[in-house]
Symmetry: C2
DNA sequence: TAGATTGTTAATCGATTAACAATC
DNA sequence: TAGATTGTTAATCGATTAACAATC
Protein backbone atom coordinates (compact mmCIF):
# COMPACT_ATOMS: atom_id res chain seq x y z
CA UNK A 1 0.00 0.00 0.00
CA UNK A 2 1.29 3.47 -0.80
CA UNK A 3 1.94 5.20 2.46
CA UNK A 4 1.77 8.73 3.83
CA UNK A 5 4.77 10.54 5.19
CA UNK A 6 6.55 9.10 8.17
CA UNK A 7 4.13 8.38 11.01
CA UNK A 8 5.66 8.33 14.48
CA UNK A 9 5.53 5.16 16.51
CA UNK A 10 3.75 7.04 19.31
CA UNK A 11 0.84 7.52 16.91
CA UNK A 12 0.86 3.93 15.64
CA UNK A 13 0.72 2.61 19.21
CA UNK A 14 -2.56 4.40 19.81
CA UNK A 15 -4.35 3.20 16.68
CA UNK A 16 -5.09 -0.27 18.09
CA UNK A 17 -6.55 1.40 21.20
CA UNK A 18 -8.95 3.38 19.05
CA UNK A 19 -9.80 0.29 17.04
CA UNK A 20 -10.61 -1.66 20.19
CA UNK A 21 -13.05 1.01 21.37
CA UNK A 22 -14.69 1.14 17.95
CA UNK A 23 -14.96 -2.66 17.71
CA UNK A 24 -16.69 -2.76 21.09
CA UNK A 25 -19.12 0.00 20.17
CA UNK A 26 -19.73 -1.55 16.76
CA UNK A 27 -20.40 -5.04 18.05
CA UNK A 28 -22.66 -3.94 20.87
CA UNK A 29 -24.40 -1.60 18.41
CA UNK A 30 -24.67 1.00 21.16
CA UNK A 31 -24.01 3.96 18.94
CA UNK A 32 -23.57 4.91 15.30
CA UNK A 33 -21.59 8.08 15.99
CA UNK A 34 -18.72 8.86 18.31
CA UNK A 35 -16.99 12.16 19.04
CA UNK A 36 -13.27 12.51 19.61
CA UNK A 37 -14.20 13.22 23.22
CA UNK A 38 -15.91 9.90 23.77
CA UNK A 39 -13.40 7.92 21.73
CA UNK A 40 -10.58 9.56 23.66
CA UNK A 41 -12.28 9.03 26.99
CA UNK A 42 -12.68 5.32 26.32
CA UNK A 43 -9.19 4.87 24.90
CA UNK A 44 -7.46 6.93 27.56
CA UNK A 45 -6.29 9.66 25.18
CA UNK A 46 -7.12 13.39 24.99
CA UNK A 47 -9.72 14.42 22.36
CA UNK A 48 -7.26 16.73 20.60
CA UNK A 49 -4.76 13.93 20.25
CA UNK A 50 -7.40 11.57 18.86
CA UNK A 51 -8.21 14.09 16.13
CA UNK A 52 -4.57 14.77 15.39
CA UNK A 53 -3.70 11.08 15.19
CA UNK A 54 -6.55 10.34 12.79
CA UNK A 55 -5.77 13.42 10.69
CA UNK A 56 -2.44 11.84 9.66
CA UNK A 57 -4.38 9.34 7.61
CA UNK A 58 -7.25 11.36 6.21
CA UNK A 59 -10.50 13.11 7.11
CA UNK A 60 -12.81 10.57 8.70
CA UNK A 61 -15.15 12.78 10.69
CA UNK A 62 -17.90 15.32 10.08
CA UNK A 63 -17.75 18.72 11.76
CA UNK A 64 -20.43 19.20 14.36
CA UNK A 65 -21.25 15.48 14.28
CA UNK A 66 -18.29 13.23 15.06
CA UNK A 67 -17.05 9.97 13.57
CA UNK A 68 -19.25 7.25 12.13
CA UNK A 69 -18.32 4.18 14.18
CA UNK A 70 -18.59 1.55 11.47
CA UNK A 71 -16.78 3.63 8.88
CA UNK A 72 -13.90 4.70 11.11
CA UNK A 73 -13.52 1.11 12.30
CA UNK A 74 -13.19 -0.09 8.73
CA UNK A 75 -10.70 2.61 7.84
CA UNK A 76 -8.58 1.87 10.90
CA UNK A 77 -8.61 -1.82 10.03
CA UNK A 78 -7.27 -0.94 6.58
CA UNK A 79 -4.61 1.37 8.01
CA UNK A 80 -3.45 -1.37 10.39
CA UNK A 81 -3.56 -3.99 7.61
CA UNK A 82 -6.12 -5.92 9.62
CA UNK A 83 -8.65 -6.09 6.80
CA UNK A 84 -7.13 -9.33 5.54
CA UNK A 85 -5.61 -12.37 7.22
CA UNK A 86 -2.09 -11.96 8.59
CA UNK A 87 -0.35 -15.31 8.77
CA UNK A 88 1.98 -15.83 11.71
CA UNK A 89 4.63 -18.40 12.61
CA UNK A 90 5.40 -19.17 16.25
CA UNK A 91 8.89 -20.35 17.13
CA UNK A 92 9.44 -22.11 20.43
CA UNK A 93 6.58 -24.30 21.53
CA UNK A 94 7.17 -24.25 25.30
CA UNK A 95 4.41 -23.55 27.75
CA UNK A 96 4.26 -19.86 26.87
CA UNK A 97 4.26 -20.57 23.13
CA UNK A 98 1.57 -23.18 23.56
CA UNK A 99 -0.56 -20.80 25.64
CA UNK A 100 -0.30 -18.12 22.96
CA UNK A 101 -1.34 -20.59 20.26
CA UNK A 102 -4.41 -21.65 22.22
CA UNK A 103 -5.30 -18.06 22.99
CA UNK A 104 -4.94 -17.11 19.34
CA UNK A 105 -6.94 -20.06 18.05
CA UNK A 106 -9.78 -19.29 20.41
CA UNK A 107 -9.83 -15.60 19.51
CA UNK A 108 -9.58 -16.35 15.79
CA UNK A 109 -12.44 -18.83 15.99
CA UNK A 110 -14.71 -16.61 18.06
CA UNK A 111 -14.25 -13.39 16.15
CA UNK A 112 -14.46 -13.61 12.38
CA UNK A 113 -12.89 -10.16 12.06
CA UNK A 114 -9.81 -11.02 14.10
CA UNK A 115 -7.38 -11.55 11.26
CA UNK A 116 -4.19 -12.33 13.14
CA UNK A 117 -3.65 -16.05 12.74
CA UNK A 118 -0.90 -18.36 13.97
CA UNK A 119 -0.68 -20.97 11.21
CA UNK A 120 2.76 -22.55 11.66
CA UNK A 121 4.80 -23.83 14.60
CA UNK A 122 8.54 -24.37 14.95
CA UNK A 123 10.76 -25.93 17.58
CA UNK A 124 14.11 -27.72 17.71
CA UNK A 125 13.33 -30.07 20.58
CA UNK A 126 13.40 -33.62 19.10
CA UNK A 127 10.55 -34.64 21.38
CA UNK A 128 8.37 -32.00 19.72
CA UNK A 129 9.48 -31.78 16.09
CA UNK A 130 7.14 -33.50 13.60
CA UNK A 131 4.47 -33.91 16.30
CA UNK A 132 1.06 -32.30 16.11
CA UNK A 133 -0.05 -29.54 18.47
CA UNK A 134 -3.59 -28.17 18.38
CA UNK A 135 -3.96 -29.43 14.84
CA UNK A 136 -0.67 -27.99 13.58
CA UNK A 137 2.53 -29.81 12.71
CA UNK A 138 5.65 -28.64 14.57
CA UNK A 139 8.43 -27.95 12.06
CA UNK A 140 12.16 -27.93 12.79
CA UNK A 141 13.57 -24.40 12.86
CA UNK A 142 15.69 -25.30 9.82
CA UNK A 143 12.47 -25.39 7.82
CA UNK A 144 11.73 -21.74 8.59
CA UNK A 145 12.57 -20.31 5.15
CA UNK A 146 10.73 -23.05 3.31
CA UNK A 147 7.59 -22.98 5.46
CA UNK A 148 7.53 -19.17 5.46
CA UNK A 149 7.27 -19.29 1.69
CA UNK A 150 4.75 -22.14 1.57
CA UNK A 151 2.51 -20.70 4.24
CA UNK A 152 3.06 -17.05 3.24
CA UNK A 153 4.07 -16.09 6.79
CA UNK A 154 4.48 -12.37 7.40
CA UNK A 155 5.01 -12.21 11.13
CA UNK A 156 6.82 -14.31 13.74
CA UNK A 157 6.31 -14.77 17.46
CA UNK A 158 9.52 -15.74 19.23
CA UNK A 159 9.07 -17.75 22.44
CA UNK A 160 12.42 -19.52 22.63
CA UNK A 161 14.92 -19.19 25.54
CA UNK A 162 16.92 -15.94 25.64
CA UNK A 163 20.13 -17.63 24.54
CA UNK A 164 18.57 -18.77 21.25
CA UNK A 165 16.51 -15.69 20.49
CA UNK A 166 18.97 -13.67 18.40
CA UNK A 167 19.81 -16.68 16.28
CA UNK A 168 16.13 -17.37 15.68
CA UNK A 169 15.52 -13.71 14.82
CA UNK A 170 18.33 -13.87 12.26
CA UNK A 171 16.70 -16.90 10.67
CA UNK A 172 13.37 -15.09 10.56
CA UNK A 173 14.92 -12.10 8.79
CA UNK A 174 16.66 -14.44 6.34
CA UNK A 175 13.34 -16.11 5.62
CA UNK A 176 11.77 -12.77 4.75
CA UNK A 177 9.69 -12.19 7.88
CA UNK A 178 9.01 -8.46 8.27
CA UNK A 179 7.67 -8.26 11.84
CA UNK A 180 8.77 -10.06 15.00
CA UNK A 181 7.08 -10.17 18.37
CA UNK A 182 9.74 -11.17 20.88
CA UNK A 183 8.90 -12.71 24.27
CA UNK A 184 12.48 -13.74 25.12
CA UNK A 185 14.28 -11.63 27.73
CA UNK A 186 16.94 -10.52 25.26
CA UNK A 187 17.62 -7.41 23.20
CA UNK A 188 17.32 -8.42 19.57
CA UNK A 189 19.01 -6.65 16.70
CA UNK A 190 17.27 -6.64 13.32
CA UNK A 191 18.03 -4.73 10.13
CA UNK A 192 16.06 -1.67 9.03
CA UNK A 193 12.83 -2.66 7.36
CA UNK A 194 12.17 -5.41 9.89
CA UNK A 195 9.96 -4.38 12.79
CA UNK A 196 10.35 -5.62 16.30
CA UNK A 197 8.03 -5.49 19.29
CA UNK A 198 9.10 -6.61 22.72
CA UNK A 199 6.77 -8.42 25.08
CA UNK A 200 9.26 -9.30 27.78
CA UNK A 201 7.13 -10.07 30.81
CA UNK A 202 9.90 -9.88 33.40
CA UNK A 203 10.90 -6.42 32.16
CA UNK A 204 7.37 -5.20 32.77
CA UNK A 205 7.28 -6.78 36.21
CA UNK A 206 10.59 -5.16 37.10
CA UNK A 207 9.32 -1.80 35.99
CA UNK A 208 6.20 -2.17 38.13
CA UNK A 209 8.35 -3.16 41.11
CA UNK A 210 9.87 0.31 41.04
CA UNK A 211 6.59 1.87 42.07
CA UNK A 212 6.20 -0.39 45.10
CA UNK A 213 8.87 1.72 46.79
CA UNK A 214 6.87 4.93 46.67
CA UNK B 1 11.91 4.13 51.05
CA UNK B 2 12.28 7.90 50.88
CA UNK B 3 12.15 8.86 47.25
CA UNK B 4 13.69 11.52 45.04
CA UNK B 5 11.61 14.02 43.13
CA UNK B 6 9.22 12.76 40.50
CA UNK B 7 10.97 10.42 38.08
CA UNK B 8 9.35 10.16 34.65
CA UNK B 9 8.04 6.83 33.47
CA UNK B 10 10.29 7.04 30.41
CA UNK B 11 13.26 6.85 32.77
CA UNK B 12 11.82 4.03 34.88
CA UNK B 13 11.21 1.94 31.76
CA UNK B 14 14.91 1.98 30.91
CA UNK B 15 16.19 0.96 34.33
CA UNK B 16 15.36 -2.75 33.86
CA UNK B 17 17.20 -2.65 30.51
CA UNK B 18 20.32 -1.37 32.24
CA UNK B 19 19.92 -3.94 35.00
CA UNK B 20 19.68 -6.76 32.46
CA UNK B 21 22.93 -5.72 30.79
CA UNK B 22 24.67 -5.45 34.17
CA UNK B 23 23.34 -8.83 35.35
CA UNK B 24 24.68 -10.46 32.19
CA UNK B 25 28.09 -8.84 32.53
CA UNK B 26 28.18 -9.59 36.24
CA UNK B 27 27.25 -13.26 35.90
CA UNK B 28 29.61 -13.94 33.02
CA UNK B 29 32.30 -12.03 34.94
CA UNK B 30 33.48 -10.54 31.64
CA UNK B 31 34.22 -7.10 33.01
CA UNK B 32 34.42 -5.20 36.28
CA UNK B 33 33.92 -1.77 34.72
CA UNK B 34 31.52 -0.44 32.15
CA UNK B 35 31.28 2.97 30.53
CA UNK B 36 28.00 4.69 29.70
CA UNK B 37 28.95 4.04 26.07
CA UNK B 38 29.09 0.28 26.46
CA UNK B 39 26.08 0.10 28.78
CA UNK B 40 24.12 2.23 26.35
CA UNK B 41 25.26 0.24 23.35
CA UNK B 42 24.11 -3.02 24.93
CA UNK B 43 20.83 -1.61 26.23
CA UNK B 44 19.97 0.27 23.04
CA UNK B 45 20.17 3.73 24.61
CA UNK B 46 22.48 6.71 23.93
CA UNK B 47 25.41 7.17 26.36
CA UNK B 48 24.23 10.64 27.36
CA UNK B 49 20.82 9.32 28.26
CA UNK B 50 22.31 6.50 30.33
CA UNK B 51 24.24 9.04 32.39
CA UNK B 52 21.27 11.34 32.74
CA UNK B 53 18.95 8.50 33.80
CA UNK B 54 21.35 7.26 36.46
CA UNK B 55 22.05 10.79 37.70
CA UNK B 56 18.44 11.05 38.89
CA UNK B 57 19.26 8.56 41.61
CA UNK B 58 22.82 9.45 42.63
CA UNK B 59 26.43 9.42 41.49
CA UNK B 60 27.36 5.86 40.70
CA UNK B 61 30.34 6.31 38.37
CA UNK B 62 33.91 7.55 38.49
CA UNK B 63 35.07 10.18 36.00
CA UNK B 64 37.58 8.85 33.53
CA UNK B 65 36.78 5.28 34.57
CA UNK B 66 33.13 4.35 34.20
CA UNK B 67 30.71 2.38 36.36
CA UNK B 68 31.66 -0.58 38.56
CA UNK B 69 29.42 -3.37 37.27
CA UNK B 70 28.74 -5.14 40.56
CA UNK B 71 28.09 -1.93 42.44
CA UNK B 72 25.79 -0.34 39.87
CA UNK B 73 23.89 -3.61 39.58
CA UNK B 74 23.29 -3.65 43.33
CA UNK B 75 22.19 -0.03 43.37
CA UNK B 76 19.80 -0.55 40.49
CA UNK B 77 18.35 -3.57 42.23
CA UNK B 78 17.68 -1.40 45.29
CA UNK B 79 16.14 1.39 43.19
CA UNK B 80 13.82 -1.12 41.50
CA UNK B 81 12.99 -2.78 44.84
CA UNK B 82 14.39 -6.03 43.50
CA UNK B 83 16.78 -6.55 46.41
CA UNK B 84 14.11 -8.44 48.35
CA UNK B 85 11.37 -10.87 47.39
CA UNK B 86 8.28 -9.39 45.77
CA UNK B 87 5.30 -11.64 46.32
CA UNK B 88 2.80 -11.85 43.49
CA UNK B 89 -0.71 -13.21 43.09
CA UNK B 90 -1.95 -14.46 39.72
CA UNK B 91 -5.65 -14.26 38.97
CA UNK B 92 -7.05 -16.37 36.16
CA UNK B 93 -5.44 -19.76 35.81
CA UNK B 94 -6.14 -20.40 32.13
CA UNK B 95 -3.47 -21.56 29.73
CA UNK B 96 -1.74 -18.17 29.67
CA UNK B 97 -1.83 -17.86 33.45
CA UNK B 98 -0.51 -21.37 33.85
CA UNK B 99 2.31 -20.69 31.39
CA UNK B 100 3.31 -17.56 33.28
CA UNK B 101 3.37 -19.50 36.56
CA UNK B 102 5.61 -22.17 35.10
CA UNK B 103 7.88 -19.61 33.52
CA UNK B 104 8.15 -17.72 36.79
CA UNK B 105 8.80 -20.81 38.87
CA UNK B 106 11.58 -21.90 36.56
CA UNK B 107 13.22 -18.49 36.52
CA UNK B 108 12.87 -18.12 40.29
CA UNK B 109 14.42 -21.54 40.89
CA UNK B 110 17.30 -21.04 38.44
CA UNK B 111 18.33 -17.56 39.46
CA UNK B 112 18.62 -16.91 43.20
CA UNK B 113 18.64 -13.15 42.56
CA UNK B 114 15.37 -13.13 40.63
CA UNK B 115 13.10 -11.89 43.37
CA UNK B 116 9.78 -11.70 41.57
CA UNK B 117 7.76 -14.63 42.86
CA UNK B 118 4.24 -15.81 42.09
CA UNK B 119 3.09 -17.31 45.39
CA UNK B 120 -0.71 -17.39 45.15
CA UNK B 121 -3.25 -18.38 42.50
CA UNK B 122 -6.88 -17.38 42.10
CA UNK B 123 -9.69 -18.47 39.82
CA UNK B 124 -13.47 -18.69 39.94
CA UNK B 125 -13.91 -21.78 37.77
CA UNK B 126 -15.37 -24.47 40.07
CA UNK B 127 -13.32 -27.11 38.26
CA UNK B 128 -10.16 -25.30 39.35
CA UNK B 129 -10.87 -23.76 42.75
CA UNK B 130 -9.35 -25.61 45.72
CA UNK B 131 -7.25 -27.76 43.36
CA UNK B 132 -3.46 -27.71 43.34
CA UNK B 133 -1.43 -26.34 40.45
CA UNK B 134 2.36 -26.60 40.38
CA UNK B 135 2.35 -27.01 44.13
CA UNK B 136 0.04 -24.06 44.80
CA UNK B 137 -3.57 -24.08 45.92
CA UNK B 138 -6.01 -22.23 43.68
CA UNK B 139 -8.13 -19.87 45.77
CA UNK B 140 -11.55 -18.46 44.85
CA UNK B 141 -11.35 -14.80 43.83
CA UNK B 142 -13.49 -13.96 46.85
CA UNK B 143 -10.50 -14.89 49.00
CA UNK B 144 -8.34 -12.19 47.41
CA UNK B 145 -8.32 -9.76 50.34
CA UNK B 146 -7.71 -12.47 52.90
CA UNK B 147 -4.93 -14.23 50.98
CA UNK B 148 -3.29 -10.92 50.04
CA UNK B 149 -2.90 -10.20 53.74
CA UNK B 150 -1.80 -13.71 54.69
CA UNK B 151 0.68 -14.04 51.86
CA UNK B 152 1.77 -10.39 51.91
CA UNK B 153 1.06 -10.00 48.19
CA UNK B 154 2.22 -6.72 46.66
CA UNK B 155 1.58 -7.28 42.98
CA UNK B 156 -1.08 -9.01 40.87
CA UNK B 157 -1.01 -10.54 37.42
CA UNK B 158 -4.42 -10.49 35.75
CA UNK B 159 -5.01 -13.22 33.19
CA UNK B 160 -8.80 -13.42 33.23
CA UNK B 161 -11.07 -12.80 30.21
CA UNK B 162 -11.55 -9.15 29.19
CA UNK B 163 -15.11 -9.03 30.50
CA UNK B 164 -14.00 -9.88 34.05
CA UNK B 165 -10.79 -7.83 34.14
CA UNK B 166 -12.08 -4.52 35.54
CA UNK B 167 -13.98 -6.29 38.29
CA UNK B 168 -10.89 -8.29 39.22
CA UNK B 169 -8.77 -5.13 39.20
CA UNK B 170 -11.24 -3.47 41.56
CA UNK B 171 -10.93 -6.39 43.94
CA UNK B 172 -7.15 -6.17 43.78
CA UNK B 173 -7.23 -2.48 44.68
CA UNK B 174 -9.65 -3.20 47.51
CA UNK B 175 -7.30 -5.87 48.80
CA UNK B 176 -4.44 -3.37 48.92
CA UNK B 177 -2.48 -4.52 45.86
CA UNK B 178 -0.32 -1.63 44.63
CA UNK B 179 0.78 -2.88 41.18
CA UNK B 180 -1.15 -4.77 38.51
CA UNK B 181 0.17 -6.41 35.35
CA UNK B 182 -2.79 -6.79 33.02
CA UNK B 183 -2.88 -9.32 30.18
CA UNK B 184 -6.57 -8.94 29.41
CA UNK B 185 -7.48 -6.98 26.27
CA UNK B 186 -9.30 -4.30 28.23
CA UNK B 187 -8.52 -0.81 29.43
CA UNK B 188 -8.46 -0.91 33.21
CA UNK B 189 -9.09 2.05 35.46
CA UNK B 190 -7.35 2.16 38.82
CA UNK B 191 -7.06 4.95 41.40
CA UNK B 192 -3.94 7.09 41.82
CA UNK B 193 -1.32 5.27 43.83
CA UNK B 194 -2.01 1.95 42.11
CA UNK B 195 0.26 1.23 39.17
CA UNK B 196 -0.79 -0.56 36.05
CA UNK B 197 1.22 -2.15 33.27
CA UNK B 198 -0.40 -3.52 30.16
CA UNK B 199 0.81 -6.64 28.46
CA UNK B 200 -1.96 -7.05 25.92
CA UNK B 201 -0.51 -9.36 23.29
CA UNK B 202 -3.07 -8.67 20.59
CA UNK B 203 -2.50 -4.93 20.88
CA UNK B 204 1.20 -5.47 20.17
CA UNK B 205 0.44 -7.73 17.24
CA UNK B 206 -1.95 -5.16 15.81
CA UNK B 207 0.67 -2.47 16.12
CA UNK B 208 3.22 -4.63 14.31
CA UNK B 209 0.70 -5.34 11.56
CA UNK B 210 0.76 -1.63 10.69
CA UNK B 211 4.33 -1.90 9.48
CA UNK B 212 3.57 -4.79 7.15
CA UNK B 213 1.98 -2.23 4.83
CA UNK B 214 5.15 -0.27 4.29
C1' DT C 1 -30.08 29.35 12.35
C1' DA C 2 -27.62 27.90 16.72
C1' DG C 3 -24.87 24.41 18.64
C1' DA C 4 -21.48 21.17 18.22
C1' DT C 5 -17.39 19.13 16.64
C1' DT C 6 -13.88 18.51 13.25
C1' DG C 7 -9.24 19.47 11.16
C1' DT C 8 -5.33 22.30 11.76
C1' DT C 9 -2.15 25.81 13.37
C1' DA C 10 0.33 27.92 17.14
C1' DA C 11 1.89 27.43 21.94
C1' DT C 12 3.54 24.56 25.43
C1' DC C 13 5.56 20.95 27.53
C1' DG C 14 8.79 17.25 28.15
C1' DA C 15 12.37 14.25 26.66
C1' DT C 16 16.70 13.56 24.26
C1' DT C 17 21.09 15.10 22.59
C1' DA C 18 25.18 17.94 22.48
C1' DA C 19 28.71 20.03 24.85
C1' DC C 20 31.93 20.67 28.40
C1' DA C 21 33.90 21.56 33.00
C1' DA C 22 35.20 18.58 36.69
C1' DT C 23 38.02 14.93 37.98
C1' DC C 24 39.57 10.19 38.30
C1' DT D 1 50.70 14.11 33.54
C1' DA D 2 47.62 12.87 29.50
C1' DG D 3 43.55 10.50 28.34
C1' DA D 4 39.12 9.19 29.36
C1' DT D 5 34.64 9.48 31.14
C1' DT D 6 31.42 11.22 34.40
C1' DG D 7 27.69 14.52 35.97
C1' DT D 8 25.29 18.49 34.47
C1' DT D 9 23.79 22.48 31.89
C1' DA D 10 22.19 24.44 27.57
C1' DA D 11 20.33 23.48 22.96
C1' DT D 12 17.45 20.80 20.20
C1' DC D 13 14.01 17.98 18.95
C1' DG D 14 9.49 15.91 19.06
C1' DA D 15 5.06 15.13 21.04
C1' DT D 16 0.97 16.94 23.31
C1' DT D 17 -2.28 20.50 24.30
C1' DA D 18 -4.81 24.72 23.50
C1' DA D 19 -7.26 27.44 20.51
C1' DC D 20 -10.12 28.47 16.75
C1' DA D 21 -11.79 28.93 11.92
C1' DA D 22 -14.39 25.97 9.01
C1' DT D 23 -18.55 23.62 8.51
C1' DC D 24 -21.94 20.05 9.33
Amino acid sequence: MMRWKKISDAVVRRLPLYLRVLEEAHQSGETKLMSSHELGERAGVSPALVRKDLAWFGEFGKQGVGYEVGYLREELRKILNLDREIRIGLIGVGSLGHALVRYNQQRYAEDSHFNLHIVALFDNDPSKVHRQLDGMLIHPIDALAEVTKQERLQMAIVTVPAAAAQQVADRCVEAGIRAILNFAPAKLVVPAGVYLANADVSLEMQRLAYYLGE
